[in-house]
Amino acid sequence: MKKIIAIALAGAVGFAGLCLTNFAHDNRPVLKVANWAEYIDGGDEDSELIREFESWYEQQTGKKIRVEYCIADDNEILYNMIKMGDNFDLICPSEYMIMKLAAEGRLQKLPASFYDTGVETNYYAKHVSPFILDTFSSNYVNGEAWKEYAAGYMWGTTGFVYNPDHVSEQDVQTWSIFNNPKYNKKITAKNNIRDTYFVGLAIYHDAALRALKSDYESGKITKAVYQTQLSALMNDTSHETMSGVKEVLQNMTSNLYGFETDEGKNDTIAGKITVNYQWSGDGVYIMDTAEYGEEEEEPENSVLLNYAIPETVSNLWFDGWVLTKDCRNVDAATMFINFLSMPENAVRNMNYIGYTSCIGSETVFNDFVLDYYSAEEDEEGVAKYDLNYFFNPDYVTGDASTASEEYVFYTYEEQLKRQLFAQYPQEEVLTRCVAMQYFDADANSRANSMWSDVTFF
């Protein structure tokens, strides 16, 4: 009965979900994949990459496959689609939704063979960045590491896209910029509970975060302890904290230009918004467009925008591939992940999407990072940039002898505040970035109430 109602509701409400196939009516078995819009090379409709996967799969296994590629607008809509009975095989939610789905038993684990680096076609296991693998091994859901369920696809941070002509660099280092009257009606927050709750927490816990940071920097606590405590602070949903956060957010709303999701991009490029709280990947898009214009042609008034991550804490997020409970073809699903994890395909995806891939192989470093960002040592205004943590599998944090010169390169100094920084922040910056857990039912309901109080003013 519930299912019938759910299906009827899906029809009636028409949740924004769209599936694209190549309309070849044949009896090839289907692999049904859900992903975000514009989140694969070539866009969605006729992504060459998907067709290439179909032939690659046939070549590898001798079996045919047809990919049905569906678009979900956001995590909540994807969740509703699954709840209402959409039978996806492979989906790509964000980390908190992966945790929620796993906790509700809606996912199945990746097969053990997925991480066997001895297998030629296990491109994910062979090429995933050590940083990503480490994060996916040290974060848990249901007492099991993320990597049991998820293979990372894209990742990033949140921070401020700002115009350095109008905004001081000290100000964007602090979360209190949201209350700074200097940026009255020039600063935006995100129009969703989770991202904005994070902002509220960072302001509410400011003193504690600073104390923690100085403890870590003076060597009183280890990195592991620091990150555990940071995570605890930034995932605090107790009654007391939530009402504190509510007050913080209520105080800052009158200073905001508004809450936005995608609408803020254009206004940031046009200069109406000078500080835009943004996901790093969209930040790269905004910086690129402000600098080069829509068609890769220098616009009349090219603007150089910067990206900054506040000094106390910020959000680290991931989108990852997971197998649903009802996945009918685990083989094809894992091969799809591996196909996207081929370094050359990862580069193609990054070029198209603008977000940062979880794949950290030499090819990605040479064909993407160096291609876009490297400079000659003897040029003026260049600086060294170290990406050992992301690309060097032998690297151990804090042990300089394990670092390889190969992954240290020269880049233009401005890139330390711009696209390179947004795509690949330095290791010490990521130390202070934490992933957000999902809200349990009680916290979710309280957060919703809090949000309606905050957004009514």
């Binding site: 509703n80 508004g258 979710n444």
Partner: protein, 280 residues
């Protein structure tokens, strides 16, 4: 041998509409009722969702909560938008119906904007307001801008039904009134206005109901600074609180029903039997 005869009657033409009604009006309504009265985990019957809704948002009572204030603000914006629409639309409809030769030309002026995508239109309006300098200035201006957006968007829905009813009024009634000594204003108040009541009611319900819930306008118009109840319902469904969202929708529906009933919206059939019946 008798031949089965197929009698085509006009009633059969109602079948497609009845099907449409059942599928897209009745069924969703039933689903909303289902979710309003069941609990999320087990699907068993409960009044908890209503208790939840009326328990306020943060330890305070419902009447002090932002949820109640949001409803009041939505109602206010709705009433204001409807009144402004009516004040603008009635004279226009009257003039087009009675005073103008090229009726089609003028009507088209009001219909053409509807051919342009409405998100595009409200974005354009946003740019205009920004240029004037009243965009996102203060809460007062935000509410003003929201009302402006609603009026801008829903005006044709008010003009058209009023125009249709007015243009169908038998002119001989007016002539009779004038013959019997009524002044122009009296004739208008005693004849034209009552006879166009059906059009007004149609127009009012066409504007009042959507402007209560069309959160797209308030979102774009004010960058989510002005919250209406439609946005609240949207958030509930997005954040996996279907039961609370359904309760809110159901209560809103009841409120609308009451308002329509109290203002006589269901008895829109005019007493005098003119052809100016409700349009929508």
């Amino acid at each position: 041998m008798t031949k089965a005869k197929f009698h085509f009657s006009r009633k059969l033409l109602a079948i497609p509409y009845a099907l449409f009604l059942a599928l897209f009006v009745i069924a969703p309504l039933l689903i909303i009722v289902y979710y309003a009265f069941t609990n999320g985990d087990t699907g068993s019957f409960t009044f908890d969702n209503f208790r939840n809704f009326f328990s306020g948002t943060g330890g305070d009572t419902f009447w002090e909560s932002s949820r109640f204030k949001t409803i009041v603000q939505s109602l206010g914006i709705s009433v204001l938008s409807t009144v402004v629409c009516l004040l603008i639309a009635y004279p226009i409809a009257y003039i087009i119906a009675f005073k103008v030769k090229n009726k089609m030309g003028l009507l088209i002026l009001f219909i053409v904007p509807m051919w342009v995508n409405f998100v595009l239109r409200i974005n354009a309006l946003k740019e205009l307001l920004e240029w004037i300098g009243i965009y996102n200035k203060s809460n007062g201006w935000n509410i003003f801008n929201t009302v402006l957006g609603m009026v801008y968007d829903f005006l044709p829905f008010m003009v058209l039904p009023i125009y249709t009813t007015i243009s169908k009024i038998d002119k001989s009634y007016l002539e009779a009134a004038r013959d019997l000594g009524a002044a122009g204003s009296t004739a208008f108040l005693k004849v034209t206005l009552p006879l166009s009541k059906a059009g007004i009611m149609s127009g009012v319900s066409m504007v009042f109901l959507p402007s209560m819930t069309n959160d797209v306008i308030s979102n774009y118009r004010t960058f989510n600074h002005t919250k209406i109840i439609g946005a609240f319902i949207d958030e509930c469904f997005k954040n996996d609180l279907w039961n609370l969202g359904s309760v809110t929708a159901l209560l809103l529906l009841t409120l609308m029903f009451l308002i329509t009933w109290l203002t006589g919206g269901f008895s829109a059939e005019p007493e005098n039997g003119s052809r100016g019946t409700s349009l929508w």
